[in-house]
Amino acid sequence: MSVIELLQRSELFSGLAPEQIERIAALGQEVIYNAGDVVIREDDPSDEVYVVRSGMVEVLVSRGRIPDVPGPPQLTSIVHLGQGQLFGEMALVDRGARSATVRCTEDGTVLPVIPRQTFWDLCDADHHIGYVVMRNIASDLSFKLRHRNLQARLAGGAP
């Protein structure tokens, strides 16, 4: 599957014309990770959005920070994301620091990376792209929240 085909199958770009998706695909590059590789870290500055082309990643948040105990905070996994899923999208919306750590769980995980500012420049130049992507980001965040709510309700997962 080409990057363009992947982006066409990604909800983030649903509703865009093929030529618009080609313009977005041209902005980014692919990076390959192995199991255990950290893609983004909680609290780091956020500059890119990622799409899972193949493989799997897990999203982790830190809990139980203990100021007097040395070492990194304990990380708790909250969800796995597979093909077609995006992460880092909050950076496109609020430009805040990373809210979670994302780590690969499979060797050879391929992640197209789209720089935030370059993407914003495209959205400023083509407001239809910007509108569609913002609508889709809202939908994706809503879906993830619904997943978390179901997980908490059915499986007694993290609230």
Binding site: R9, E11, V79, H80, G82, Q83, T105, A155
Partner: protein, 67 residues
């Protein structure tokens, strides 16, 4: 149609998975989530479909070994 599926596991601790599929999961399917295989016991429409996407929730449980 692309099926965006939220898998949640009951019966043991598991994070759940969100993934896009070409075909919808069905009750009785075996699905690999991470290193483990689970059985789908319920599939519901999570929200109405939009564009090329359908949004499903699938509840899974550990596979019951039979002897």
């Amino acid at each position: 149609m692309i099926y965006k599926v939220s898998y949640v596991v009951v019966g043991k601790p598991h994070l759940g998975v969100i993934v896009n599929l070409d075909a919808p999961p069905r009750v009785g399917d075996r699905v690999q989530l991470g290193d483990e295989v689970f059985e789908v016991i319920e599939v519901i429409d999570l929200i109405p479909p939009r564009g090329d996407f359908a949004y499903l929730h699938a509840t899974c449980q550990p596979v019951q070994e039979t002897t």
